[in-house]
Amino acid sequence: MIPVCRLADLPTGESVRIDTAPPIAVFHAEGQLYAIDDTCTHQDASLADGWLEGCLVECPLHAAAFDLRTGAATCLPARRAVRTHPVTVEDGMIYVQHAAEEGTAA
């Protein structure tokens, strides 16, 4: 489990990038927490810097979009999904569990 930040420090509509390898982006969208791989599968851009709309995040470079719930790419130019990672909150602290390479979204 990787500590991210306090829930109070990540209001709805905000995101934070954690420097794991590869880096993970954690979003607080529509009252839910989501964690996905931070790097757009199209080209090197941080999705934590992306534009949040509902459960979609739009890449800040080329407007590829990903569904935070599944990691699926919903808009070109990205075609490959990003991995999703389980998020939990304990004692007001957000934690991410780094999903293994296998068995995640293809």
Binding site: G50, P60, L61, L76
Partner: protein, 389 residues
């Protein structure tokens, strides 16, 4: 329409092919490309590919699954040499011909070159092969690199070369690079990135010629118009591009710094559309990644409709990555528009600025501020195009 030929197997060509299939075109689709590669993304060539943080196979714009889905015939390593619009035939090199009902012109642009033959070690950067040849020259140990042209490509190449540990000088003919794109104030800030990273920027001087010597005719230096000689083992010329329209001469299509077409990317012949860097759409030729993808959808729709039924006036957008700074620009800035910093500071090389004219925002620029930039870009797009489709 039973058959469509897409001439040009790059970003715009692939997106046009995709759009044709997405619109339900199920006829014969032929994609002609003069390079031997399937469509790949060019922006990383001057950055991640040069520095070695990505490899050519990761630049492919379509994977095997999508290639199969497209169900196209690929004529790669094949150059289109002419278009017989009366006979609806594309002429190919080697004397071959290709009969087709519709044509998508997506031949892009070719880099401008210095006059005379290029000695070994002198490069331009447009294609994957160009980038790999340059990288090969940069991986043999530290060298002196002279980059001719201080625009975005030149600046990105200079940045990549500096990252690789080379000694880099950028030569720019204008008093300051990037002024046409960014205006004086913001161009000054961006030009300062070179000095931040130990790269010399020489402005206000043109290049007289390249010096070379030896049996291999290798470049040894760059002679400037003012007589100075800059020793160099590698020279990269980034002085802009020309739309690739030579093959269309005599076709009857209007050629004027690109293939002239209407706001729907349709030429005077409804069965011929043009997209990407080669297209002059409604008087404007854009050399932007995003324009190419957006035009492709519009052009495909109109080609299948047989006339211009939809137009698209997108908000110009481009970006550049140099020296670890992501520069993003959107909008239509005119000379005299006043830039205003909205947040951040130029001193930190991280800020968001808007350009204003008579109280209106005309464009927005960000250095390392992607998220607020997106918000501004969206607002600008909403303001600029009220219901265009």
């Amino acid at each position: 329409m039973k058959s469509v030929a897409v001439i040009g197997a790059s970003l715009a060509g692939l997106y046009a092919a995709r759009a044709l299939r997405a619109e339900g075109f199920d006829g014969r689709l032929v994609i002609v490309g003069d390079e031997s590669h399937r469509p790949y993304d060019r922006p990383p060539l001057s950055k991640d590919l040069l520095t070695g943080t990505t490899s050519p196979d990761r630049l492919a714009l379509a994977d095997a699954e999508e290639i199969a889905e497209l169900d196209a015939e690929w004529l790669l390593g094949t150059e289109a040499t002419g278009l017989d619009t009366g006979g609806r035939t594309v002429l190919l090199d080697g004397g071959r011909t290709l009969a087709t009902d519709g044509v998508v012109i997506a031949t892009g642009a070719a880099p401008r070159r210095l006059p005379g033959p290029a000695p070994a070690g002198a490069h331009t950067l447009r294609t994957l092969d160009d980038a790999q040849a340059l990288r090969a020259d940069l991986t043999r140990g530290p060298v002196r690199v002279v980059v001719i042209g201080g625009g975005f490509i030149g600046a990105e190449v200079a940045s990549s070369c500096a990252t690789l540990g080379h000694h880099v000088t950028v030569v720019e003919a204008a008093p300051l690079p990037l002024v046409p794109q960014l205006g004086d104030t913001m161009a000054t800030i961006c030009a300062a990135l070179h000095a931040d990273h130990g790269v010399t920027l020489l402005t206000g001087t043109g290049v007289a010629r390249l010096h070379s010597e030896g049996a291999g005719n290798r470049v040894t230096g760059v002679e400037l118009a003012d007589g100075r000689l800059l020793p160099a083992e590698v020279v990269v010329t980034g002085i802009g591009v020309r739309p690739r329209t030579a093959w269309l001469e005599g076709s009857g299509l209007p050629l004027d710094d690109g293939v002239r077409c209407d706001a729907g990317c349709v030429t005077p012949l409804p069965q011929v559309v043009a997209v990407g860097d080669v297209a002059r759409v409604d008087g404007i030729r854009a050399e932007h990644w995003t324009s190419a993808t957006e035009q492709a959808a519009t052009a495909a729709h109109n080609l299948l409709a047989g006339r211009t039924v939809t137009t698209h006036r997108s908000l110009p957008y481009f970006w550049s990555d140099q020296y670890g700074v992501r520069i993003q620009f959107a909008g239509r800035r005119l000379p005299g528009d006043t830039p205003r910093i909205l947040e951040g500071s130029p001193d930190d090389r991280s800020f968001l600025a808007c350009y204003e004219r008579e109280g209106r925002t005309t464009a927005v620029l960000a250095l390392n501020r992607p998220r607020p930039f997106m918000g501004q870009r969206r607002a600008l797009a909403r303001a600029a195009q009220p219901a265009t489709t």
